[in-house]
């Protein structure tokens, strides 16, 4: 982890409270912030800050990105969704300077967080009180809409995440 420390030291100071998402494939930090809903509005509201470290040297990945979110704990469920797209990620929650590791895992079912790409799906119907639901087909790296059966590759998830 020397390289990472070096990267952090160079660019961003240590955080006391927040989340560090590490081992993100190189130049994918922006996708991570999008999937996690770390947009301006959310960050302003929470008085949180986001730092994206890109093209950091890594023994495991060669080059990688790191996202640090100060004063914001990413939801475990959101980290699990991120894991669909980037299985290499690791998540550290920092509270009063203490670090707790979280290993994201691919969920069996995903409720509400992903919009079905099929516009004619009932889960996209206006005014119907329906929450999207996807079943994970792990071996095929695909999600399947529980309502209309439409398939969605893991790699396409970022385009369909609800923020």
């Amino acid at each position: 982890m020397t390289e990472e420390r070096e990267g952090e030291h160079l660019l961003v100071s240590r955080i006391e409270d927040g989340t560090v998402i590490d081992h993100i494939p190189d130049w994918k930090a922006e996708t991570v912030t999008r999937v996690l809903g770390l947009d301006r509005k959310a960050m302003m509201k929470a008085n949180a800050s986001v730092a994206m470290l890109q093209n950091v040297a890594s023994r495991q990945l060669g080059r990688k990105d790191i996202v640090k979110v100060d004063r914001w704990h990413v939801k475990e469920g959101d980290a699990d969704i991120l894991c669909l797209v980037f299985p290499s990620i690791t998540v550290n929650y920092i509270t009063n300077g203490s670090v707790a590791k979280y290993s994201p895992s691919v969920p069996d079912l995903i409720h509400g967080r992903i919009r079905c790409p099929e516009l004619s799906c009932i889960s996209n119907a206006e005014r119907e009180p329906v929450t999207s639901e996807f079943v994970t087909l792990k071996a095929d790296r695909m999600l399947q809409c529980a309502y209309c059966d439409t398939l969605l590759g893991f790699d396409s998830v970022p385009e369909h995440v609800r923020t």
Partner: protein, 312 residues
């Protein structure tokens, strides 16, 4: 008398949810009903069927209505959005809840949105029978299609079935493909690339070890088929009008296109037809679509009776 355990209270949402054993049981009951047409009359007296058709329908609505009435049920609901509270913007959710309050014993639902039947089944504990949800599925149509195939050939196994036309947006073809995957059938999907079967259907079939052939022109395969299942290509599905004119002819079924067909080929169609199936085929031995359509009534009587746990 066959019991109805395993079916009572069951939703009929996808042809995928039914096994070969289920289909064979249904067909045996339909055979029995066809042999003794009045044998189920009135068996569900006192029950209420709510037919909620959020999309206009003639034959499916009528066949469900007649089926329910023949079984002795009372029928309520609507045959299309016009004139119903749906035009005022009432949701599927609220409509189901309302008819549940009125004491519906079964919901028969057609809706333009894919997955609507599954959503309805989540809203209520009352059984939901899908009468078609968007481009997704039409499970009872697949059951009657399969029954019609069995009737024509005395079996389903070993047959070569071609599905022609708009396989992407046609809900009947996806349900039929799911249903046929329970049998030893060689399927061929004949459609332009843009209207080929949706990926989720192919994915399901592949997981079952079923590998349908894919063709773009009927003439390449017509001579090998036992069943040709024709569906309509809708002009609005093809963005380029010149492309539509080009493909239209390739998927038209008439005496000329059937010239190389086996004499025993059965042509099927979920109806209504427009130009894709010429009336000149009606007088040939190939025409099986009216027999197919007639099977809808006994099939739906059997399904309603099974779902409602009636004596059979």
């Amino acid at each position: 008398m066959m019991g109805s355990s395993g079916f009572t209270g069951r939703d009929v949402i996808s042809a995928r949810d039914f096994s070969r054993v289920d289909f064979e049981r249904i067909f045996k009951l339909v055979d029995g009903l066809e042999a003794a047409p009045g044998s189920m009359d009135g068996v569900l007296g006192g029950k209420l069927a709510a037919l909620l058709f959020f999309e206009p329908s003639t034959r499916t609505y009528s066949s469900f209505q007649i089926a329910a009435e023949r079984l002795g049920m009372k029928v309520t609901g609507f045959a299309g959005p016009t004139g119903s509270s749906v035009t005022k913007g009432e949701t599927l959710h609220d409509t189901v809840r309302m008819f549940e309050g009125y004491g519906a014993d079964v919901f028969i639902i057609r809706h333009p949105k894919m997955g609507a039947a599954r959503f309805a089944a989540e809203i209520t504990d009352t059984p939901v029978v899908s009468a078609g949800d968007g481009s997704r599925e039409h499970p009872t149509q697949a059951m009657l299609d399969l029954h019609a195939i069995r009737k024509a050939f005395g079996k389903v196994d070993g047959l070569k079935v071609g599905m022609l036309g708009d396989l992407r947006y046609g809900r009947t073809s996806s349900s039929l493909a799911y249903a046929l995957s329970n049998f030893d059938v060689e399927m061929t999907f004949i459609a332009p690339d843009s209207l080929q079967m949706r990926s989720e259907v192919s994915h399901f079939l592949s997981r079952r070890g079923v590998k349908p052939k894919v063709e773009t022109a009927l003439k390449n395969v017509v001579g090998s088929l036992d069943v040709l299942y024709v569906t309509r290509i809708q002009k609005e599905r093809i963005p380029d009008p010149t492309e539509f004119e080009k493909v239209k002819g390739l998927y038209e079924v008439n005496l000329e296109t059937l010239r190389d067909a086996k004499p025993t080929l059965k042509v099927m169609h979920p109806l209504p037809r427009v130009d894709e199936l010429s009336t000149e085929v009606d007088e040939t031995d190939h025409a099986h679509y009216f027999v197919q359509a007639a099977g809808g009534l006994p099939l739906r009587m059997v399904i309603l009776n099974l779902v409602l746990g009636g004596a059979s």
